[in-house]
């Protein structure tokens, strides 16, 4: 009796739940007439402040957080921007004076217009929160020294003219614009005096001023207004632990370009939950998601799902720790490069969202093309056991019983390190190990428990061969920083030059020699060259990039495995007019796509 009663009530409950489950998921997709755009973004935390500077935030770039402009992420020209809050701009005096004209119709969601005072306050907040162009230390290369209000809709930014950097412009354009009438409650009214003192005052006064600014930064980072006031296409209405709801801002200056009336941003947990959502056709626009071939096929089989891809300035490489013998010998590194079939590693590791790097040169294929690097002088390191053998022999290794031995008779082992969190790195590393073993080189793979531990051990120089992301563009300085920056011992010294630390010190775990002789180039100090990239003109940059590419290709401090493909999934069931493949907006959030006229209602 009891049993059947229990069973019956359970069944009834299940039936009721099924009905509600179905109906609620139907309701959610077409509540309002303008349509709801469902996106997936990043970690959502309802407790996070509506403050774009916080690591976890409820101020979403492109939706309710606006910058002066949206970068086109052009490989060779970091000054290409789409207008955002800034409608137009003039860069003068050798790149040290930027005059910005605000959109005439720009308004906050509460009706007040966006004015030059908002920009001035935003700059003050940027000083406190540590924007890269806004540093309160005097003499910072590429630092902003003054922000002047010219009139209600015009602002002038001035750079440190004694040490200008060509990255300053894009750093200023990516400043967040905050509402002065809301934020002025948190920022003291004399903040600009404090900033000027910090930049120009005497040593003691400047120090006090800097401490004030740092303290302000600490206070501000966790603060956000109770109610969102945004100059962007949307305003935040509601946040739960797994989603954020934004509604259309009628006061947005280009409101008629915006089709959706609501945006739901879902929490990014991990790949498999995103794939499940995609398989249900519930995502209208996603961020970059790495999926396997079979997952890709299944996702695209769902009605409306499509993939829009573009080049991504991110590359996965296997970097050597050259303080561990015998990897300090360039022939050993080259030999290993000749043994690895990068196409196979990419297929198994990254499959659909990566393309094998054609030339290990510190640049992705798109970047090589964009910078016009002459590939005829680059070595593709195609799989060649004979060449590998000759390189190993030049390093003094011998082969015995099919296995390679070092000069002193111990077996040659290549220990590769990866981390458990990143499945593509782990699969790729397994494949590299298998390939090397098949070629007679003993290889092992070890996985760290998580990425943070991996990074800590990596920085401490504990690994021999490890995964490292390279070619992080689009700025060439950023690209080569990954190989010849602080990880390799080159740090910004006083006065804009670089100082090199020995391997094992100052975070130098790559252990590359400070300078090497390259045939055809002479002696090259890659760290210094990289540093110059932030200071010279575009033509000179091109020459330096070519030099560094040749250097990397010759010395192989890291073997590039695959270039990531920026793969965005979209759904055309409710919206149409998405950007095409290789469009320059693909690296921006979908809110930016909407502002530029994409994503129209069906």
């Amino acid at each position: 009796m009891r049993r059947t009663a229990v069973a019956a009530s359970v069944l009834a409950l299940c039936a009721a739940l099924t009905a509600t489950g179905c109906s609620s998921s139907n309701n959610s997709t077409s509540k309002k007439s303008g349509g709801t755009f469902t996106a997936i973004l990043t970690h959502i935390d309802p407790k996070a402040p509506i403050n774009p500077y916080n690591q976890t935030t409820n101020s979403f770039r492109g939706y309710n957080a606006m910058m002066l402009g949206w970068s086109k992420n052009t490989a060779t020209d970091a000054t290409q921007f789409y207008p955002a809050i800034a409608k137009s701009w003039d860069l003068a005096s050798g790149g040290t004076k930027l005059t910005v004209h605000i959109q005439p119709n720009a308004k906050w969601s509460d009706g007040k217009p966006v004015t030059a005072d908002d920009l001035k306050l935003s700059a003050a907040v940027a000083y406190a929160e540590g924007g890269s162009a806004f540093a309160a230390i005097p003499g910072t290369a590429g630092g902003t020294v003054d922000v002047k209000v010219i009139d209600d809709k015009t602002v002038e930014f001035d750079q440190n003219s004694t040490k200008p950097l060509n990255t300053w412009f894009s750093n200023v354009m990516t400043m967040y614009v905050l509402p002065a009438h809301i934020w002025s409650t948190q920022v003291p009214s004399d903040i600009w005096d404090t900033i000027h003192t910090a930049l120009t005052g005497s040593a003691a006064e400047a120090k006090t001023a800097q401490d004030t600014i740092t303290a302000l930064g600490k206070k501000l980072i966790s603060w956000g207004p109770d109610k969102d006031v945004s100059a962007g296409p949307f305003t935040l209405s509601r946040v739960t632990t797994s989603e954020a709801l934004l509604t259309k801002n009628a006061n947005f200056f280009d409101a008629d370009k915006i089709a959706p009336s609501q945006v739901v941003i879902k929490n990014y947990q991990d790949n498999s939950s995103i794939v499940n959502l995609l398989l249900n056709g519930q995502i209208d626009g996603s961020v970059y998601v790495a999926v396997s071939e079979s997952q890709l096929d299944k996702i695209l089989a769902v009605k409306g799902n499509q993939v829009v891809s573009g080049a991504s300035p991110v590359q996965a490489s296997l970097a050597f720790n050259e303080s561990k013998k015998p990897f300090d010998n360039v022939h050993v590194r080259r030999g290993i490069a000749y043994l690895i079939d990068r196409a196979q590693v990419t297929k198994i590791g990254e499959s659909s969202s990566g393309k094998a790097s054609p030339y290990p040169s510190g640049l992705t294929a798109t970047q090589i093309q964009g910078w016009g690097v002459d590939t005829s002088s680059l070595n593709a390191y195609s799989v060649d056991a004979t060449k590998a053998a000759s390189e190993f022999q030049q390093a003094g290794m011998t082969q015995s019983g099919g296995k390679w031995m070092l000069a002193d008779g111990t077996p040659f082992t290549v220990p590769i390190q990866t981390t458990s969190d990143f499945n593509d790195w782990t699969s790729g590393a397994s494949n590299v190990v298998a390939q090397l073993k098949a070629a007679g080189v003993d290889a092992t793979m070890t996985a760290s428990s998580d990425y943070t531990t991996y990074l800590a051990d990596l920085a401490a120089g504990k690994f021999t061969v490890s995964w490292w992301l390279t070619a992080l563009g689009p700025s060439p300085y950023n690209i080569f920083q990954r190989l010849y920056g602080s990880a390799n011992g080159w740090k910004l010294g006083a006065g804009g030059g670089v100082a090199h630390s020995a391997p094992g010190q100052g975070g130098n775990w790559m252990g590359e020699a400070e300078s090497s002789d390259i045939t055809g180039l002479g002696t090259v100090n890659p760290g210094e060259l990289t540093n110059q990239l932030s200071q010279v003109s575009a033509d000179q940059q091109k020459q330096i990039v070519a030099k560094l590419a040749k250097f990397t290709n010759d010395q192989v401090p890291a073997i590039a495995m695959w270039d990531y493909v920026n793969q965005n999934f979209i759904n055309t069931n409710h919206f149409t007019k998405f950007p095409p493949n290789d469009s320059d907006v693909l690296r921006q959030p979908q809110g930016v796509w909407m502002q530029l006229g994409f994503i129209q209602a069906k």
Binding site: R3, V6, L17, T18, T20, G21, C22, S24, S25, N27, S28, H43, D45, K47, A48, N54, Q55, T56, G130, G131, S132, A135, G142, T167, N171, T174, G217, K218, I221, S222, W223, R238, T240, T241, S242, E243, A244, L245, V264, N267, S272, S273, N276, L277, L279, N280, Q282, P313, D450, Y451, T452, T453, L455, A456, D457, A459, L469, S475, N478, Q481
Partner: protein, 336 residues
């Protein structure tokens, strides 16, 4: 039986001492973890496209939230703040208090796991009785083996299977999350329905993986009760089946209640797999994320909350057992 207030006081004192010990232990253990949260944040920002200088500046602020000073002084500060119920600030979401981070997740875990435990208790108890009374036949054996098997199936496997069957192949339940954001929150029908439908699969996954132990315990408990003299006596006295069943059931349920109470205590820490699989924003996910980000305050807070829950559950189990089992009440054989 000693007076209840006295026992309670004893429990409380022991509980406070235990909490202090656990807090100290986890404090020092967590500080040993390798990895610099700032470096991890830096790498993540750089990967997302920020320039190295920008990332460096952005992460500078995190330093302001990192604890400074010798380990001992940090410890004394920690204890002092703990007495004021201040669990520190999170470094993941800068500035937000750790306790609010943890409590936000806790309330979701409680609902989910409570539902799962109640469900598994009901299923396990009922099936356990059947398995015990039919133990010589195929049914009994089959039930026992089924119970053990389901108990052996890892939680995450259960979760994955349920996801695949009920959200991909036959989409009747929502894929993930805890509630549909487009529904206005509050005590209205659609909101509650949305909550329930989002919680069904995770609770089911939890229940299916847990009912096995209830089943097996109930079975062996019923078997040993069946062998007890009072049952034989009842049968000889001519009591009807129904009344005898009640006698048996009440005695056999005793061990189950203790498991029940103890499981409630362990629920906070134990639902990680299911929460991760269903993107259910409970405490397990908060914990895993905070470990990945080396967010010391949130980790400490999570450990404390779980420990407090376990201790409270133990106390309740102890009191409960005293209340239901007269043999213990009369101060008989020493329970553990």
């Amino acid at each position: 039986m000693r007076k209840l207030p006295l026992r309670l006081a004893g429990h409380l004192v022991r509980a406070l001492v235990m909490i202090w010990v656990v807090a100290t232990f986890t404090f020092f253990l967590i500080r040993q973890m390798p990895g610099d949260p700032v470096a991890a944040q830096y790498e993540q920002l750089v990967q997302q496209g920020m320039s190295p200088d920008g990332a460096r500046n952005a992460t500078q602020l995190t330093y302001g939230f990192m604890p400074t000073g010798s380990t001992w002084s940090q410890y004394t500060h920690y204890l002092w703040r703990l007495l004021h119920f201040d669990l520190g600030r999170s470094t993941q979401t800068l500035g937000v208090s750790a306790s609010s981070e943890v409590l936000t997740g806790a309330k979701w875990t409680i609902g989910l796991v409570l539902a799962g435990i109640l469900l598994s208790f009901a299923i396990g108890a009922v099936l356990g009785v059947i398995a015990a009374t039919r133990r010589s036949s195929g049914t009994g054996d089959a039930l026992t083996i089924t119970g053990s098997l389901f108990h052996a199936i890892p939680q995450f496997v259960m979760a994955l299977v349920l996801i695949t069957v009920f959200t991909v192949i036959w989409p009747v339940f929502p894929t993930d999350g805890n509630v549909d954001i487009l529904v206005d929150p509050g005590f209205n029908g659609p909101y509650i329905a949305s909550l329930v439908s989002h919680a069904t699969l995770p609770a089911l996954a939890y229940a299916l993986s847990m009912f096995g132990s209830y089943l097996l315990t109930m079975k062996s408990s019923v078997i040993s009760v069946l062998g007890d003299d009072f049952v034989l006596a009842a049968e000889l006295r001519g009591l009807t089946r129904g009344i005898r069943f009640r006698y048996i059931a009440r005695n056999a349920l005793l061990p189950l209640f203790t498991i029940f109470a103890l499981t409630i205590g362990f629920m906070f820490g134990g639902a990680v797999f299911i929460e991760k699989a269903f993107n259910y924003p409970g405490m397990g996910v908060t914990l895993v994320n905070s470990i990945g980000h080396r967010d010391y305050s949130t980790m400490n807070a999570t450990f404390l909350l779980i420990t407090a829950a376990v201790i409270v559950a133990n106390i309740l189990a102890d009191l409960l057992y005293t209340a239901i089992d007269p043999r213990v009440r009369r101060g008989g054989t020493a329970g553990a």
